[in-house]
Symmetry: C2
């Protein structure tokens, strides 16, 4: 089965203590779409300006990503610039130029409205809801978010949550959203807000699933050479949804392995700037690292 | 086989946002010894003052801990007082009264010198070395430490490291000791300093082993009700060494499961103040949680 992915499609200028890379292909939907493409057909919904480099369109196409839902509008592509601290744990935004993204309204072409798996990658929750308004009876809907929306669009986010199967957020967002320091209390409140599956991302410490099938502690693959963590969380949800769409069986049967695949693709993402490493990835490399993660965690 | 454990034996006054508990049984050796006692015979080496409550001696004895190496000296028992912040991730020391601990010199009774497994729980590295000077051909020696010794006794610690089989420290200490932000670079340097087995503790995120048998990512058992994390790290190494001593086979064959048992006993430790929960623990409860941790991490 195929997955529909909506989110930001951007140019990222990223500075780390070791290097500086201007105008890389970035955005939540770009990372998620390429990550999902190793598993199933992907339909991308987003917007770019007429300055968007041809080579990035080719990169999407190389991964057989359907661009029928990608709007190319007169103006500038969303441009984000950020800088990481020495230990790569914290980053600060240097610049945000919204460009054509400022007035983006995601519109699903008729052909995409019945896509069974829908990933609402990080973007304003009102836009995530707008995509769901157009989707026709999707089989499984997951959404990611970020602290910004908790701060400036909480009512929109709460409305969206009622419509999700799975909600993905990081640990600090879970605490902020629920007001609970205790993770289990936070999970309980999150389920009450709507989603049956709640996935808490903890960066290099892995992730945790809370679901009808219980708790799953998903390990992170330990990255020997961390180059740039931008997009790792988007890669995680992208690969996870791609794997679930390809498996196309009961979610509870496949979601643990789907998360492990997400974890592995995210680890590759961290090994290059932007999408540089992910874009050269092969399914074989992913499989080898999934097996290795099995060995690293066996007891 | 049996394990010899040297470290601090103290009275801890612990304040959390929810409660305040004065003069609990604490100290690295107390936590480690009780944790190890579920697996093998334990010999405790430490010092307390003549104010040390009888009920705490009884608690040791209830766990069949041999107190032949516990000195009872005129004066006051080491007293530490600390306060945890709301999320329990950080604590600050309110008071440290060394008492008889200030002039403590660990002396091994003749009968304990051949104990095959030696755990040098957190204490000044010069004292850890002094214990090794008296030990006769131990089979396996592990040491824990804390940031204080990196700051005020680094040469002593470096001398000790050459004599260890296993070194246990937390992630920030690993970065501080090696000057490496990258964990793998840090591990490489740590092995060069002596120990064949390096274990990095990451609190509620679990731990990581680097050894001749490769890397092992050990999960933390997710604690539903975190009451007081004091002593969790000591419980982890104590249970790990107890399990290894009981297994008494090749270290590489048993160390992963030993760490998982350490992780589980540490999780119980966090569910009560001081040793309150650990002291009521049964081997059956430990086994059930080990099995559950297997289920929580299976994919």
């Amino acid at each position: 089965m195929s997955v529909l992915i909506v989110g930001s499609t951007a140019l990222d200028s990223i500075k780390t203590p070791k290097a500086e890379n201007p105008r890389l292909l970035g955005g939540s939907a770009s990372h998620a779409a390429v990550a999902a493409s190793f598993f199933c057909p992907v339909n991308l919904v987003g917007v770019v300006g007429d300055d968007f480099p041809q080579r990035y369109l080719q990169l999407y196409r190389k991964h057989r990503i359907n661009l029928g839902g990608l709007q190319i509008q007169p103006g500038k592509t969303f441009h984000w610039s950020g800088e990481y601290e020495a230990n790569m744990n914290r980053r600060r935004t240097l610049l945000t130029e919204l460009g054509v993204f400022e007035t983006f309204t995601p519109t699903l072409p008729q052909a995409l409205r019945k896509t069974p798996f829908v990933l609402l990658a990080n973007i304003a929750p009102s836009l995530q809801s707008h995509v769901l308004d157009q989707a026709q009876r999707p089989k499984f809907v997951a959404a990611d978010t970020m602290d910004l929306w908790l701060n400036i669009a909480l009512p929109d986010l709460l409305r969206l949550l009622k419509r999700l199967d799975a909600f993905v957020l990081n640990d600090s967002e879970a605490h902020q959203l629920t007001g609970e320091d205790n993770l289990f209390a936070a999970l309980k409140k999150l389920h009450k807000l709507g989603p049956k599956y709640v996935i808490i991302k903890e960066g290099s410490h892995g992730s945790m699933l809370s679901s009808p099938g219980g708790i799953f502690l998903c390990p992170a693959y330990p990255v020997p050479n961390l180059v740039d963590p931008t997009g790792a969380g988007d890669s995680f949800v992208g690969a996870m949804m791609g794997y679930l769409a390809a498996a196309n069986g009961p979610i509870d049967r496949h979601i643990r392995r789907a998360m492990v695949y997400g974890s592995v693709v995210a680890s590759f993402c961290c090994e290059g700037f932007g999408l540089q490493r992910t874009a050269t990835l092969t399914r074989g490399q992913i499989e080898r690292r999934v097996k290795e993660l099995g060995r690293l965690t066996k007891f």
